[in-house]
Symmetry: C2
Subunit: 165 residues, 2 copies
């Protein structure tokens, strides 16, 4: 069976046996947006005890504040009413302790082309959260009362740690 057919079969099971969200609306009920890593080992909803419909979830490599993350968070706030962003970076991240040079070399080996962009690696987990909180604070595109909260997440224990800006 192809991957496409396999995923469609799994989705048919979801739609018939588990799907319950048909009354939920586009605006998140708890007015929160989460920005976190693409890591496979956790969901933002699980870690924060959120239900479907509660929060926007933005994920990228590292959970970094990029132009695209700001595009998404600004839309979330201005168009869909979120009033807080929760930034979560995690332990054992693939970006930790790497250099852009090492990552470009690895991409060139696998794909045959050398990346012209950077990958946003980091060397200090808590500092990377603080850096990204500061980047959000510096953006002029959020409402005056917008709240910005930072955590680290430990993939071995399931626990968050609060990081002050």
């Amino acid at each position: 069976m192809s991957l496409t057919d396999d995923l469609l079969r799994a989705n048919a099971r979801y739609a018939t046996e588990q799907f319950t969200g048909s009354d939920l609306q586009v605006r998140p009920l708890r007015h929160i947006a989460i920005l976190t890593c693409m890591d496979s080992r956790y969901t933002a909803q699980g870690v924060l005890g959120l239900a479907l419909g509660d929060a926007h979830v933005i994920r990228n490599a590292g959970g970094r504040v990029t132009e695209d993350a700001i595009r998404s968070l600004v839309l979330s706030a201005a168009l869909l009413g979120t009033r807080a962003c929760v930034v979560i970076h995690h332990s054992d991240c693939g970006l930790f302790g790497q250099s852009d040079e090492e990552l470009r070399q690895r991409v060139a080996e696998v794909a045959g082309a050398r990346a012209t962009f950077g990958f946003l690696p980091f060397a200090d987990l808590e500092q990377s959260v603080r850096d990204d909180l500061h980047a959000l604070q510096a953006s002029p595109y959020f409402p005056p009362d917008y709240e910005i909260i930072g955590f680290t997440y430990d993939v071995r224990t399931g626990r968050l740690k609060h990081i002050e800006p």
Copy 2:
């Protein structure tokens, strides 16, 4: 109780009552990366019947192929061994039928500053998936055998529809 304290309390319940993933490793078990919208009403894992540990999940406003999504997907493939990307856009998306001018106006009303960047709205759901599949196909940074799959997701039924490139 502050939002931070509320989230930490919910996370403490998660860590003690639900957390089970302590043996999972950084490389996704099923070698898949999902790119989808930040929408609150579904999780990528739920819709595709995936377990924790199975797949990277990249989310942004619309599930669009941006430079940051490519940064994340390329890292996922070259560094962490994923071999397929699944792009999912959904019905009732906040970006559907909007214009950049309307969105910039809305941000200016809420935040007091006019955005200098675009928000990637779209007018045709299936075409937006095809456009993003083509953007991935045009990138030189993926391995030769990398598979690219597109779906739309109906938030009212829970069902995926396969979209050919």
